[in-house]
Amino acid sequence: MGGAPTNGHAHGAEAVHRPTLEELKERKIRTRQRVHEGQETITVSMGPQHPSMHGVYQAVVDLDGEIIVRTRPGIGNLHRGVEKLAEQMTYHQFIPVTDRLDYVASFAMNHGYCEAVEKLMGVEVPRRARYIRTIAHELVRLANHILWLGVHIMDFGAQTFFLICFRDREYILDLFEMVCGARLTHSYARIGGVSKDLPEGWVGRCRSVVEFLPKRFDEYERLITANRIFNKRARNIGIFTSEDCNAWRITGPTLRSTGIARDLRKDEPYAAYDEVDFEVAVEYNSDVYDRFLVRMKEMRESCKIIRQCLDNLPDGPYLAHDAAHVLPLKKNVLRDSAAMIQDFMHVLRGPQVPKGEVYRAIEVPKGEMGVYIVSDGGPIPQRLHLSTPSFYHGQAVPPMFEGEMLADSVGIFGSIDVVLGDCDR
């Protein structure tokens, strides 16, 4: 990979200047040349309690004047030992814990985990469940990007925009509250489907939200895209080329802002992504401004995906009928003795899992999230490893900060969308 960007996507009428990799490198070097070697530096600790830092990330920066020479990242302030917890819980019990990984996009984490477990157990997910998962996943992507946008623009000094974004995110959280009972920690995906069917009136409400959000995005664009302060501040900072991205395992919108159209929804489709029509958002300048543009495009594409899924939403079961691996439906448990036995067996003995190892990666709002499970045939995983995007993004901060101004560092850090629950685990 790497090299000059090849994936051409329609960019509207006007031709877009696509900088080559050499140009980008040159631009980056030009910013880094501001570093004067051998000068005395002062050390400033940003975070974990710094008001402008995202979450509990710590960046100890060595400054030459206002320019960052060196950065030492500090993570682990939110470490909860999630991978170790998984070794003490049945596959089903671990679902609420995945909520707490990336608490901004909980459902995406549930989804990734359940996809991996289904691959291990060989569970076939019903078509309706796959559609519901796609809708929920895209809703959570919208919620994540809207929240990111508000906070990111606030990093550059705009207060009002934060409130506008939070208002619009509320519509999506309401949809989730309606369907699964929680606004943030959804726990909605189950092994073999989703926990509850869509309630009455949900489809209409969801459709009205995705019809109306693109109008709000136009509003965002009017506020931000051409704004001279944002343009001056966000362009040409935090340049991270496609080569750097591959070296540091950067995925998601940050990678797509370098001209590489890598998106697991397209490349390795899961859920219902192979049945919907959407474009992968790509930009070419690899800087903070283009990461903003990629996410704006992605939000519009998400609305498109949800609209298609709602139009083609099939009927049928929302949870697979598979007594060995999947929990029974509650209404059957209350009526049917076989389902009740299945219920008891699942809780007391756990699902019947084959021996083996499995890796499954999906595209969550922040990048690629992978789950690696080693099973010894018991009801609990022998080892469960999570590969979450924020961890890789967080470790790429030192090369990204190098040679940039201290005042821009918060904006650069915000642009790669790190959530510390996802990073520290």
Partner: protein
């Protein structure tokens, strides 16, 4: 293109455009509610404080002390103790939920084979005393008035 851009820069076009969006909100209806005075009712599936359901006819607890909820609970916040009378009737002696541990995942409600434990829409759980987080059987039974009618269906 150059001239157009110059004029746009000189006239602060994009600033005015942005301010028109912000200014437009002076004329629009507010979307917020003044929380303690007005409240938004949660949706029926909301996972709030738990409740134990009693049979409306006999007044006995629906719970059959199978301890599935205790087993499935990922945060292990439920404690159940039961005893059996000589004629085979099980009775619940202790049914405690430690809300400070609970993560409101709703598994107890989902797994219950008797539809005995449900989650209600009570969400104002903040308190000055930690002991208030400790829910015993009486408190849980008293909370069933807040349980939604549509519950126990998945």
């Amino acid at each position: 293109m150059g001239l157009k851009k110059l004029i746009k820069t000189a006239t602060f076009y994009e600033i005015i455009q942005g301010m028109s969006v912000t200014g437009g909100y002076f004329l629009k209806d507010k979307v917020t509610v003044e929380y303690p005075k007005e409240k938004i009712a949660p949706h029926p599936r909301f996972r709030g404080m738990h409740a134990l359901i009693t049979d409306p006819v006999t007044g006995r607890l629906n719970c059959c002390a199978c301890r599935l909820c205790e087993t499935i609970c990922p945060s292990q916040c439920i404690t159940i103790e039961s005893s059996e009378s000589p004629d085979g009737d099980k009775s619940i002696d202790v049914f405690d939920i430690d809300l400070a541990r609970c993560i409101f995942c709703g598994f107890c409600e989902e797994i219950c084979p008797c539809a005995a434990i449900v989650m209600t829409s009570v969400y104002e759980l903040a308190t000055y005393d930690k002991n208030d987080f400790f829910l015993d059987k009486e408190k849980l039974v008293a909370n069933q008035v807040n349980a939604h009618k549509e519950l126990n269906r998945r």
